[in-house]
Symmetry: C2
Subunit: 343 residues, 2 copies
DNA sequence: AACGTCAACGCAAACGATTGCACGAAAAAA
DNA sequence: TTTTTTCGTGCAATCGTTTGCGTTGACGTT
């Protein structure tokens, strides 16, 4: 009686019929007279009847709700992904339950538990940096429970996943720097544990290699947290203490790129003439910086909408999980701005 | 049998007792022998029993889920708020269902409907810019349905809401500009329909007034969409065509502030010497700009956590909605950076 | 011996909707 | 007129859990 929500029984009582008749009438089942259907629908309308989704979930063991597990919401890329997910889900009549793991595996696991007990229909997950063990996912997948991984993809047989072409992004960014005449390109990499970081780094290496340049291992430095401060000190260290000084940075993330910009500025190096910089993710602020920051754009919204579409198709059995062997790779695009173009 | 989830019946069958006994044993009800309790818990453990939240929702007409309606997720401030909401909800054992209205009233309404049929326990809402009519909210509130409004607050008797001290933020920003010696301070305001825009503008007016300066109506210009481009052209127009040219801008939002910066730069005006600028929201990029942008920081995370706490307290009847007459106002803080401090 | 007490548990209804099956009446076929 | 078919509807079980009330048997009291 909470919100005064009318139930099927209310309609039934009002018309002096059984609830089964009402149920069938509302769904235009055959075997109900037009007359009755009309009356039922009329009363339903008048009582502002809305089916109780919870009762439906219980009956059907389906909730028309998908769960999203994401490391953190306050992150331009992730929020874009969420937006894409939400868009598709809403269009197809699904709810989205959101939890952030804050990069903690324990929270990841407890969120899964909580959502499962809510009869969620499927998961959309970007696991944490520290998730090395995927048992809590594979257990579900063995049951045929629909899961789609996005951005960060697991080493897991039969996992359906959507990722961005990190390799190509890295490759193009570094090629671009080389073409601009930069000779000593350093790489501020992301956490080595993540496939995306590895791929960006591979792109970096291959670009150098294919342009006949040597990879200087000293120039590849991990920035596990990805903050500006961290990158700043790493870049400073590199610029002050390395044997051959870098004249360009390819950062695995935009925040880190800003750290490198700061370091360059602090040392009086002019960007882009004496120092080229390219970031990754194309955060909103890239175009607002001075000089504006070149960056590899990731299609966040598309990643969200594609993953969601995939998941819903899996849930509704429009496609088979086993038919998707390889990760879906979305294209990246290098946006060239002022931080990397020599005048 | 989906996820192979064990039910109370499974436990009951295994032990040859009734499901009522199992239910009571699991909750340590009196009237169940210690022996039985032990056995039940043991089997529950072994079968990895998790209560079915959907069945619970149906029985109790409570879902331990709250609904969040937000204009758009991809927005630094809002994503911060979401983060705060999620944090509190998770800590108190609630799920968060998220929908974005994309500033469309229709979507706002349909989201409400959808969530209601999911037996949601309460709403956390930031309505759209175009929401002028609050019937769809007040109808629910009349039933005593828990709703907390955040950021944008409605003209509605008895609404519980949490906002930021926009007036103070505006007042301090403009006072600061005045103290820095700026004389002709223009205001790029937000959509006039929103209370927050009105309050920021009031702060602007009062600051001028209290410092003995005149308000030049020509200097107050609305930027309804709040994009950089829009602000750029408005600022250009002001700088090129107004009788007395502004020497400072107080923008109702950081994106607009960037637009003003661009306009100044385009006209060769040096910031902050010839032109002072202060924004609002303290988006991440503020500190990364050159010069760094002074801005009024809004406590997004706190707004989220406070609103959520309030909502959950309402839901759990720890507090009475009627006991909260006035909006809860969270403090803003002017972060002075380089864009407004004359050297 | 007859009765009351109490611990320990089961029955069944309820939450709201769906659905296989059965039933009665009317219409059609014989 | 009798039999069969068709149509429109209701009954009751089901999903998983909770909970008011009833039942059972053991034990204690007079």
């Amino acid at each position: 009686m909470k919100i005064g929500q009318a139930t099927i029984k209310d309609i039934a009582k009002e018309l002096g019929v059984s609830s089964s008749t009402v149920s069938r009438a509302l769904k235009d089942y055959p075997g109900i007279s037009e007359e009755t259907k009309r009356k039922v629908k009329e009363v339903a309308e008048r009582l502002n009847y809305r089916p109780n989704a919870v009762a439906l979930s219980l009956r059907k063991s389906r909730s028309f709700t998908i769960g999203v597990i994401i490391p953190e919401v306050v992150h331009f890329f992730f929020s874009t992904v969420i937006s894409g997910i939400e868009e598709v889900a809403q269009a197809r009549g699904y709810n989205v339950i959101l939890t952030q793991s804050n990069e903690s595996v324990d929270r990841e696991k407890s969120s899964i538990e909580a959502m499962l007990s809510n009869q969620i229909d499927g998961f959309l997950v970007c696991f944490t940096k520290e998730t090395k063990d995927f048992d809590h996912f594979s257990k579900l997948m063995d049951f045929g429970f629909p899961i789609v991984f996005f951005d960060r993809i697991p080493k897991l047989e039969g996992a359906v996943s959507v990722a961005v072409d990190d390799y190509k992004g890295g490759y193009e960014a570094v090629s671009h720097l080389i073409e601009q005449g930069f000779q000593n390109i350093a790489h501020l990499s992301g956490p080595k544990s993540l496939k995306i970081s590895q791929n960006r780094e591979r792109g970096y290496r291959d670009a150098l290699y294919n342009h006949g340049m040597q990879v200087n291992e000293e120039f590849i430095r991990e920035c596990p947290t990805g903050t500006t401060e961290e990158a700043f000190s790493v870049a400073m260290d590199l610029l002050e203490n390395s044997k051959s000084k870098p004249d360009a940075f390819f950062a695995s993330n935009d925040m880190a790129a800003v750290g490198a910009m700061r370091a360059a500025r602090k040392l009086g190096l002019r960007i882009p003439d004496e120092m080229g910089i390219v970031g990754f993710s194309n955060w909103q602020f890239c175009s607002m910086l001075e000089p504006s920051l070149s960056s590899v754009a990731q299609p966040g919204f598309k990643m969200g909408s594609e993953s969601a579409t995939l998941l819903l198709d899996l849930i509704e059995k429009k496609i088979e999980g086993s038919s998707i062997k390889d990760p879906i790779i979305l294209n990246t695009e290098l946006l060239v701005r002022n931080s990397s173009v020599r005048r």
